[in-house]
Amino acid sequence: MPASSAPAPRSSSALVALRGVAKTFPNGTQALAGLDFEVRQGEFVSLVGPSGCGKSTALRIIAGLSEPTEGVVEWAERAEKAERRSRIGFVFQEPTLMPWANVRDNVRLPLKFAAARGADAAARVEAALERVGLKAFARAYPRELSGGMRMRVSIARALVTQPELLLMDEPFAALDEITRFALNDDLLQMWQTLRTTVVFVTHSVFESVYLSNRIAVMSPRPGRIVTELASDVPYPRGRDFRTSVEYAGLCRRASEALGRAMAGGGQ
């Protein structure tokens, strides 16, 4: 699905859309104002913006963890809240694992509760562990793992429900570059195999260009989308792409867009 570089009109293929969303916290901080953002079926879209611009808040609103003070969240299909939740996976910046439970029990967590209780839980857990390459560590405890491995567990847990929408909130920001690049590649591979839709929040222009086919640039707080860029280089993207002229060019365009967004709100 090649995306155009202009902000998309209302499209029938939108999985979920935020329309005129504003969020003001009880302490008076206005995180978002007039945010319009569409997530299309099957795409890998990144939200890029300066820190504190409300990227995470936008993600939490999509997940239903936070309610907008203004505006609406529109889903393509009508569904009960509980049912919709079973189709969302969430990965935080921290691995957010239960330290008292081993890797397998951590990955099984989503299948224990109402939203995604299923009979074939054990098989799905094993498949998810296999997918992130941690089958051998199923019985290990989180503190026995490296930062990258913990994040893999976190991703396996998000994918164990086979979500149609995967929301990721700067998941690799705390990792070293080698680990981050490896996880970038693994994530792209999983995205292609599973055909899920990904919304990826990051402050790294380079990461967003490498991963996504669409980049939405946000203004400083109160955040809204000021520009959208297409990054329509075909997948699979590998190490060659990272060093290509195309990649460098896209990064420059994205950086300039971000620079404009930060300077003048994108006008």
Partner: protein, 269 residues
């Protein structure tokens, strides 16, 4: 990591056992020497050998008293554990209950138990009154620590549980209680020692003789009779009880947390 550092670790552990034993032996030797050198009479300060002999000779009496005090302490501790954790969970689930009852839990805690004991003895049978005292002293640290633990849940994990539609009870059982476990265990370690304090304080306040008299009563009684060697023997038994309770709870703490909690980490990673 290296063999040298593991050897150092082993030597460190050995020192932790050997050094206190040496201090004990030294202390006993000085005690014995002082009593002999100055010919101090046993009704002022008995020497360690006499205390030991008294312990053996009076074992029938002291052993029974030990059992009484130990039973009260353990019962008080268990009630404190159940009551403290239970009340904390209730507070956590219902703000109304918390606001209504918490001030009274504090009052119960800050009023010295030795001052409450005589009143309790007016209304309750002696064994019950002693048990209630042990409970009063021991339950608050469990309540306070469990409350802190239940409120220390990782917010992102809580969000995750919400996202996956966990019910209140499921959140409590699968998230809040495991998160609170290190805090609960810390509370229990304090409670173990305090329930012994509560039992002893109440026994001293009760002060009446009978078959059901605990170690603290034996101490008071021996004091009146100037039977100082027995006083020391009973005191040693109380001390040993306290030590055993402390280390038993430390062991439980270690076994429960060693796989995952920072507090139970050992050595290098």
């Amino acid at each position: 990591m290296s063999r040298a550092s593991s050897r150092r670790g082993r030597r460190d552990r050995a020192l932790r056992v050997v050094l206190p034993v040496i201090v004990l032996a030294l202390g006993l030797a000085i005690w014995e020497a002082v009593v002999r050198a100055w010919h101090i009479p046993p009704y002022v300060l008995p020497d360690p050998v006499l205390v030991w002999r008294t312990l053996i000779a009076d074992w029938a009496l002291l052993g029974q008293s030990l059992l009484v005090t130990l039973t009260t302490t353990v019962e008080g501790f268990l009630l404190a554990a159940v009551g403290g954790v239970g009340l904390a969970v209730l507070f956590n689930q219902s703000r109304v209950v918390e606001y209504s009852l918490y001030p009274y839990a504090v009052i119960l805690q800050v009023t010295p138990v030795i001052a409450i004991a005589p009143l309790l003895l007016v209304y309750l049978q002696q064994p019950t009154a002693v048990l209630v005292c042990a409970w009063i002293v021991a339950f608050f640290p469990v309540l306070a620590n469990t409350t802190l633990g239940l409120n220390s849940v990782d917010r992102n994990l809580a969000d995750l549980f919400a996202l996956y539609g966990a019910s209140r009870l499921e959140v409590l059982w699968n998230l809040k209680l495991p998160s609170a476990l290190p805090y609960i265990l810390a509370g229990l370690r304090i409670a173990g020692g305090l329930s012994l304090v509560g039992a002893v304080a109440a026994e001293i306040a009760a002060g009446s003789a009978g078959a059901g008299s605990g170690l603290a009563f034996r101490i008071t009684e021996s004091g009146y009779r100037l039977n100082i060697p027995r006083m020391f023997a009973a005191l040693i038994l109380l001390s040993v009880t306290g030590i055993v309770i402390f280390y038993a709870l430390a062991l439980v703490n270690y076994l429960a947390l060693r796989r995952w909690h920072e507090s139970a980490l050992q050595g290098e990673r």
